[in-house]
């Protein structure tokens, strides 16, 4: 720092840190610094006359002491420029400081460069002032001194003359004067030898009086003065008795040559002879030195004046006319010296405020000087400048003048204004920031923004100047944070860390603190810290972390396989269930496994794309062949969901694919569906009626069989007919009341046979199985039951009982047929033989009649008269009836035991027809030959059957038809007809035997296969014919036999027989 010139600055600041910081800064900039903390120290140093070039003081020195006052105090005794270093920018302070010093006012936080520049500026200003002042004062003092010396000399001269007179008159008096006179007096003889000298002379020369007496005055004179001395002696002394005051030099005893001035007188003795020369010598070393200095100073002044970097003018007080300007002024104003000299300032520059010169003069005349006067001027080049003017009185050529030094502070002012603006901007910026900002110098806040204050609960004034430590949770946290931040800052340029901060009211905040040096090259310039309250963020972060842990564990523990993939389908994460489903190592698959590398997964691509578009979608159930994944086993049923994961901006970052192995469920569902279908089929197709009602009997559901049983066409039909309740289906209402009572009292299920009513009011017997369905905990839910029309079954049962009886009879018959047939044979054959031998014209009969004394005719006559022939035929007919019954009964026991052969039924039918036509019984009552037989035989295969029983069946049917058509109710003209039709249907042969007889009503039709059911007159039928036929066809051969008939439309029997007997 070249221009600092080792200047000494007294730095006053109560804050150690500031003091040290600034000391360092200043010293680095080449200043000597006297740093003091207190006012007393400052005043002490000032009193000790220590060299101080500038006082740099804080305005607020704590304890209510005001730097401005101190400055004033010091400046009472010493004219030292004062510069204030302060944080204060308030106008009050600035004004106050301005009164004390014009040297400057610097804001601490402006930074080193500004402060140093300001200081330098102050020095320059002050130097100029001081040099002018010094010059002025020295000139004045020299003048005064000279004046005084002259006056003194004159008075001495007078005194000397007087003394000479008095000497003569009073040696003593003279002597005393001689001895005590301040001026050195030496007396030499006319040869120059020193005769006497007074103490002043002795002192001046360094010799004693005695020593001097050994010298010639020339001995003390340097050689160069000899001629001068001689000239004075000759020209002045000898001619007029005294010399002018002249200057010469003397060589002191110590060899130093000193300048002196002297005046010499010729001393006359009483005889008026010149006896001696008296020299009154004055040491003018000081004066000479002063003269030299004045000259030098004048030189210096000129130099300074001319070379001063400030424009300087010297104006006459009397007429304000300019008498001199320096070079800088010319440069500054653009005016040449000749243009300026002789003109008033107002004629030279345009002042923004024309009243300025007047005011300046006023101040000048008031204070004798102008310290610093600011004004704006428009220069010749049109530029508006801001100036600071200091003016001091000077005397030039005896005229009172004013030396005015102008400082162009345009730039300074602009800088300052820019600085203020930037400062204001910075302040508003800081206050606008939603982050706490604090400037920290030496661990104290030098500046804080409002957000930081509100964040921490302090006033700005409380926080400013406070140690940063106060905001931390505790000492340890403070140390940790600072260590970390500074460590980081030194390594990386800035630091950031989390810290636990304590609000003024004590509550704790989690904050993020950053630290950045204000000047990266100079840490002592302080740091800028930001503070962000991340308590909520931390909380949210913790919540997020917890939530993530929760999510993660839910995901991990979920039994649903989950896969998280990125937008390309590449695996990001998966859970255990996923890994176990595919038997995969998750860690190996992350970032590698791509869902779509498996072609089977193309199925889910559209859904994945949908998820990428932000919409979750369900993955439909689909079959997946796990073999491709290396997992063996059966096909899997998979389903799931593709769900987008979004970031805060709503962009999809990942897709979660939740898979579900529903193979088992699917199988179970299939089983359930089948079961349901089965149940539904059963419900719909079961021949037993199923119903479901509420506990009060209101209808819920009835199956088709149930509807059919009760004669309803639909559920709606049933509902409307029954009024919604099943109570109406009971023929006796008391049955329902009883059932319900029992059901409700816990008797369930109940079974029984009840009488029911159909829609058409017809009653029937129904088997009822009814129960209360209850939930698992026993709460009754509804009533359900099965109902079956058992009218037919009851009848069948009866029939079965009958059949049972018949079988017993048949078995019995089989066992005893032989025994019964023998007696029957005896009865019949004997009756027949008896008839033969009584009525036939056998040779034996004729012979026997003759030998009995009569004729055969007589015997025949007798027999007929006595109706013996009728008795005999009755016996035979009765025998035949009995034999037939036994024969039919035997059929039951024969069945499959009959001879099984292959034969053609067409042939068998013909034979049966033949038999029918020759049937004795039939012929008796009805001639089969009157019946038209229509044969419609088809191509049928031979079938395996028992010939005789089948033939008997056909015969039975033909006989029945014939008998039916012989009835009395036959329409006249109607030809009885039997139509026989055969056809083959692969494995079966179908035989139809129809007649155009009277037919039968439905009750008859239903009963005709019952044993012992007969429509024939007693004695004509056994009641076993059709039942035996039924038995032979159905039980004996595995065929079917049915009948279609209605009154007046004939009867059609349909028989089917399997080709191969089962």
């Amino acid at each position: 720092m070249n221009s600092s010139g080792g200047k000494t600055i007294l730095l006053i600041d109560d804050e150690e840190i500031t003091l040290k910081t600034w000391s360092a800064i200043l010293e680095r900039n080449g200043f000597n610094v006297l740093a003091v903390h207190t006012v007393n120290e400052a005043v002490d140093i000032a009193d000790r006359k220590t060299v101080i070039d500038l006082i740099l003081t804080d305005i607020d020195l704590g304890s209510g002491i005001d730097g401005v006052e101190i400055a004033e105090e010091i400046r009472k005794t010493r004219d030292i420029p004062v510069m204030f270093l302060s944080n204060h920018t308030e106008p009050d302070f600035v004004q106050k400081a301005d009164k004390v010093s014009h040297s400057g006012y610097v804001i601490k936080s402006n930074g080193e460069s500004v402060v140093v520049a300001s200081i330098k500026m102050a020095f320059r200003l002050n130097d100029a002032n001081v040099s002018i002042n010094n010059q002025k004062q020295e000139i004045e003092s020299v003048n005064e001194e000279m004046q005084a010396a002259m006056e003194e000399l004159e008075s001495i001269n007078l005194e000397l003359v007087e003394t000479q007179k008095n000497l003569i008159e009073s040696e003593g008096k003279y002597r005393r004067l001689y001895e005590s006179i301040r001026d050195a007096v030496v007396i030499v003889d006319m040869n120059g030898r020193i005769i006497d000298s007074n103490p002043a002379y002795q002192e001046m020369t360094g010799y004693t009086g005695e020593e001097l007496k050994n010298f010639n005055c020339r001995d003390l004179l340097p050689d160069k003065w000899l001629d001068e001395e001689r000239n004075v002696l000759m020209d002045q002394l000898l001619s007029r008795g005294y010399s002018d005051i002249y200057e010469k030099e003397l060589i002191r005893k110590d060899g130093v040559v000193i300048p002196v001035e002297l005046r010499s007188f010729l001393a006359k003795d009483d005889l008026v002879n010149y006896t001696a020369v008296i020299g009154i010598v004055r040491n003018i070393s000081e004066r000479k030195k002063a003269e030299r200095e004045i000259s030098e100073r004048e030189q210096k002044f000129r130099t300074i004046f001319e070379n001063a970097p400030y424009p300087i003018t010297i104006n006459r007080v009397s007429d304000s006319v300019c008498i001199d300007v320096n070079r800088k002024y010319q440069e500054y104003t653009g005016l040449t010296k000749s243009e300026v000299i002789g003109k008033c300032t107002s004629q030279l520059v345009t002042l923004a405020d024309p009243s300025v010169p007047g005011k300046m003069m006023e101040e000048f005349s008031l204070k004798g000087k102008i310290d610093s006067y600011q004004f704006s001027a428009i220069l010749k080049n049109g530029k508006t400048t801001h100036n600071l003017l200091s003016a001091y009185p000077v005397e030039v050529n005896g005229e009172k003048c004013i030396a005015a030094i102008t400082t162009d502070i345009t730039e300074l002012r602009n800088t300052e204004m820019a600085l203020r603006k930037s400062e204001a901007e910075m302040k508003s910026l800081l206050d606008a920031l939603l982050v706490g900002v604090g400037m920290i110098v030496d661990r104290r806040f030098t500046r804080v923004n409002s957000y930081l204050c509100s964040l921490l609960g302090y006033d700005e004034s409380e926080l400013t100047g406070s140690f940063t430590k106060i905001i931390y949770f505790d000492d340890a946290e403070y140390k940790r944070t600072v260590k970390e931040l500074f460590g980081m800052m030194s390594r990386e340029g800035s630091g950031i860390t989390k810290a636990v901060i304590r609000h003024k009211d004590g509550h704790i905040l989690d904050c993020l603190i950053t630290l950045t040096p204000i000047d990266p090259d100079d840490v002592s310039a302080g740091v800028c810290a930001t503070l962000n309250d991340i308590t909520e963020l931390s909380r949210a972060e913790n919540a997020l972390r917890e939530s993530e842990i929760r999510f993660k564990s839910v995901m991990e523990q979920s039994t649903l396989p989950m896969l998280i993939v990125d937008c390309s389908g590449t695996m990001v994460d998966a859970n255990i269930a996923w890994a176990s489903l595919w038997n995969a190592d998750r860690t190996l698959s992350v970032g590698k496994y791509n869902v779509f590398s498996d072609v089977q997964n193309q199925v889910i691509k559209p859904l994945f794309d949908k998820a990428l578009a932000g919409e979750p979608s369900d993955i439909p159930e689909h079959l997946y062949n796990p073999v491709l994944t290396g997992r063996t086993g059966e096909m899997l049923w998979l389903t799931g969901r593709a769900y987008p994961l979004k970031d805060r901006r709503g962009s999809v970052t990942n897709v979660v694919i939740i898979m579900e192995d529903i193979t088992e469920r699917k199988q179970a569902e299939e089983a359930l569906r089948l079961s349901e279908e089965k149940f539904r089929n059963i419900f719909n197709n079961m021949s037993i009626g199923y119903f479901r009602t509420g506990l009060d009997g209101h209808i819920i559901d009835l199956n088709p069989a149930c509807l059919a049983i009760f004669g309803f066409s639909s559920l709606e039909d049933a509902y409307s007919n029954l009024g919604g309740t099943t109570s109406g289906v009971y023929a006796s209402e008391s049955d329902w009341v009883m059932l319900r009572k029992n059901l409700m009292s816990g008797k369930s299920p109940l079974t029984g046979i009840f009488q029911f009513k159909r829609k058409d009011e017809a009653e029937f017997s129904g088997s009822l199985n009814i129960r209360v369905a209850a939930s698992a905990d026993g709460t009754p839910l509804y009533v359900e039951g099965l109902v079956e029309d058992v009218t037919n079954r009851l009848k069948t049962q009866e029939m079965l009982i009958q059949s049972e009886k018949m079988i017993t009879v048949a078995g019995l018959a089989a066992g005893m047929a032989h025994e019964i047939n023998n007696p029957l044979g005896i009865i019949m054959q004997n009756a027949e033989n008896a008839t033969h031998r009584l009525l036939d014209e056998l040779p034996g009969n004729i012979d026997a009649a003759v030998s009995a004394g009569t004729g055969l005719n007589n015997i025949r006559e007798y027999i007929k008269l006595r109706r013996v022939d009728q008795y005999l035929s009755s016996i035979k007919e009765a025998g035949e009836r009995a034999a037939k019954i036994v024969g039919n009964m035997l059929q039951f026991s024969r069945g499959t035991e009959s001879k099984i052969t292959y034969l053609n039924l067409n042939n068998l039918l013909d034979r049966a027809l033949d038999l029918a036509s020759n049937d004795y019984d039939l012929r008796k009552k009805y001639d089969f030959k009157n019946i038209r037989i229509t044969k419609q035989y088809g191509e049928i295969p031979d079938i395996q059957c028992a010939e005789t029983p089948i033939e008997q069946v056909f015969l039975n049917l033909f006989k029945n038809s014939a008998q039916a058509m012989s009835g009395t109710s036959r329409e006249p003209g109607k030809i009885p007809e039997i139509v026989i039709k055969t056809e083959s249907s692969g494995k079966h042969v179908r035989i139809e035997i129809g007649d155009n007889g009277p037919g039968m009503d439905e009750p008859t039709r239903r009963r005709i296969f019952e044993p012992f059911f007969s429509t024939k007159e007693p004695g004509l039928g056994t009641g076993l014919g059709l039942s035996v036929s039924y038995y032979i066809i159905v039980d004996g051969h595995g065929g079917t036999i049915s009948v279609e008939s209605s009154p007046d439309s004939g009867t059609l029997f349909i028989i089917t027989l399997p080709v191969k007997k089962v």
């Binding site: 089989a814 047929a817 032989h818 025994e819 019964i820 047939n821 023998n822 029957l824 044979g825 005896i826 009865i827 019949m828 054959q829 004997n830 027949e832 033989n833 033969h836 031998r837 036939d840 056998l842 034996g844 025998g879 035949e880 034999a883 036994v886 024969g887 035997l890 024969r894 035991e897 009959s898 001879k899 034979r911 004795y920």
Partner: protein, 124 residues
Amino acid sequence: MATKLLIVEDEEFIRLPLRDYFEDCGWMVDIFNSGEEALHHLMNSNADCVIVDMRLPGMTGIEFIIEANRIKPGIRFVIYTGAMDYTMNEDLVTAGVDNYTVVSKPAFDLNELRKALEGKTQEE
């Protein structure tokens, strides 16, 4: 020459009227109480046809037929039984006997029996 008929029947009042009937028809009839007796007769005699009951004391009618057919092939048999047992026919088939007719006892008309014996059944 009169037809020679053997009647093998243990029931006396069955065989007597049958003998009377066929003798009235001019046939030569021999009656036997059992198969053994009839077989014994056949050792020394011939017959055109035989009426034989199934259930007999001693050997059964089937056994008799098989044996008689063996001794005197060509005899026509009419099985006259009140309890026809068709399974027995299998034995006859096995024995190679096919010249027989079954007539249920009691026969409603003895003429029916005669036709069977004369071989005038529906089989022919």
